[in-house]
């Protein structure tokens, strides 16, 4: 492309851009209002979604997870196993005693 043509092209592009920018600035009141209301409607949608979004609930989830860990730490599974074992032993003893005792 020759330098002259390049210059001409750039000039035409700038003129077109300026003209299109002016057409946006001069949009009629009705259209501007319609666009603003469309934007508002879309953003309301965002608000509703954000509360359902997992990321937003991250701090709460982290707290709940920590609480669960703490509970598991206090009521350790080994302790639970011991308790169950004790109950089982007691039951077995009772059964044994019953079987030994005369009718």
């Amino acid at each position: 492309m020759s330098t002259e043509l390049k210059k001409e092209t750039t000039k035409l592009e700038s003129k077109i851009k300026a003209s299109l920018d002016a057409s946006v600035m001069d949009l009629d009141q009705d259209t501007q209002q319609a666009l603003a209301s469309i934007r508002e409607k879309s953003l309301k949608n965002q608000q509703a979604r954000t509360w359902l979004n997992f990321n937003a609930w991250r701090p709460a989830s982290a707290f709940a997870f920590s609480a669960l860990l703490a509970m598991l730490f206090v009521y350790h599974p080994n302790n639970l196993d011991d308790a169950l074992q004790r109950i089982a032993t007691n039951k077995a003893l009772v059964m044994n005693n019953r079987s030994r005792s005369p009718c």
Binding site: E8, T9, K11, L12, E13, K15, I16, K17, S19, L20, D21, A22, S23, V24, M25, D26, L27, T31, Q32, A34, L35, A36, I38, R39, K41, S42, L43, N45, Q46, Q47, R49, T50, N53, N55, A56, W57, P59
Partner: protein, 187 residues
């Protein structure tokens, strides 16, 4: 609260982004469809989808995503129109052609700060530009507007248009050539 602050920040940046882009998006859709109401509907769909699907993406990605959605919506509109037109011609049902397309001169912006001569010249240029842009094939029109108006580079445009960089170059060169021919009198 941290969560509330995050939301406010995100809401404000999305609001700012949409407010900045809505006028240009509307004009692009209007040039492509020739109809104000259809253009508004297309912009609404694009905004809704951006907010619903991509508001958690980094704001730097929003522009490309928005134009990608907008261009797809415009393409869908053209497909629907061509099916409708084929159906109409099949039924030999001739509608008034001026029904859908608004008069380019009527859409033309008023300029308040210029002298009457300059105003008239700008006005005539805008009218011719509207006609010339509307007459371009859709892909050429979209590539041209993204490159010239949005200042996007070839690769960004190619990603938005889902085509190769060389196609973008070809579309752009053809569009520019046609516009130069049609706007020759105004240069």
């Amino acid at each position: 609260m941290h969560m509330g602050r995050d939301f406010d920040k995100q809401y404000l940046s999305m609001n700012h982004f949409l407010a900045d882009i809505e006028g240009r998006a509307f004009r692009m859709a209007q040039i492509a469809t020739g109809n104000r109401d259809d253009a508004l509907e297309i912009v609404q769909d694009a905004m809704m989808k951006l907010v619903q699907k991509y508001s958690l993406h980094p704001p730097t990605e929003w522009k490309a995503l928005f134009y990608s959605i907008l261009n797809t919506r415009i393409l869908d509109w053209h497909r629907r129109q061509s099916v409708r037109n084929r159906f109409r011609s099949w039924l030999n049902w001739h509608d008034d052609e001026e029904d859908g397309a608004e008069d380019a001169l009527a859409q033309h912006p008023d300029d308040k700060n210029h002298t009457p001569d300059a105003k008239l010249q700008d006005s005539q240029f805008m009218a011719s530009l509207n006609i010339a842009l509307s007459a371009l094939p859709l892909r050429q029109q979209q590539v041209f507007l993204l490159r010239v108006w949005e200042g996007m580079d070839i690769n960004e445009t190619a990603v938005i248009m889902r085509c190769s960089a060389s196609s973008v170059k070809t579309h752009y060169a053809r569009a520019l050539e046609k516009l130069r021919e049609k706007l020759e009198d105004h240069q």
